[in-house]
Symmetry: C3
Subunit: 92 residues, 3 copies
């Protein structure tokens, strides 16, 4: 008898419809948020909550590595500055 | 009297269950989407909606910076090309 | 007659409230997860599920490109090592 649980199925449909629109609206606000930090010398650390996605170095140096998942280190000699591109996923 | 708001509590459970499955399914589709762009000269801009996460330069140059949160700029002299790794968070 | 669909509107309010708290809680767990990989020579590939966001090269080389959306390639001559910063969006 298709009237069985009529109330249930209407409520379920209501719930699904409301959720779909709400969840996709919320997910649209999920963004990649990035900032740049730089410092004199061969090391610079991202602000807390951010992670480096790439590093730049003075002296045209392209040899770097990431330390502790939070900081850029430039490896060439006499590095005058180091910069980090720092990103996180957040709601904006 | 645990029958207090019986209908309420059943509906609440329905709602919670539906939301849990929907939200986790939706979150599985949240992805890091990245593209590469390059241009002659010392500057290149990411497509709209994307942000640079790192930059590459011609002439073996590792000195770059990010401008306006959208573009890569290579700092060495006589740069012949600039490339940007451009990413965003999206549903895929 | 504002009593029109009284049950409907109560259920809708219930749903909206439950979703808001659930979605924002879930989204707090969405994180940018990054790892570093490196290899001898001019190429290195990110672990599956990850994408390069930036590359580093030996020999102070800042000229690189990303291949197949998964790997870093360093372009200078006699590259001794290549490293990739590999990221994804995940629940943590």
């Amino acid at each position: 008898d298709h009237h069985e649980c009529a109330v249930d199925s209407v409520i379920n449909q209501k719930i699904q419809a409301a959720i779909d629109s709400k969840v996709s609206a919320a997910l649209k606000n999920v963004q990649l948020i990035c900032v740049d930090v730089s410092a004199r010398g061969a090391d610079v650390t991202c602000p807390s909550g951010y992670k480096p996605t790439g590093c730049a170095c003075g002296m045209a140096c392209g040899s770097w590595d990431i330390r502790g998942n939070t900081a850029c280190h430039c490896q060439c000699a006499n590095i005058d500055w180091t910069a980090a591109r720092c990103c996180q996923v957040g709601l904006q």
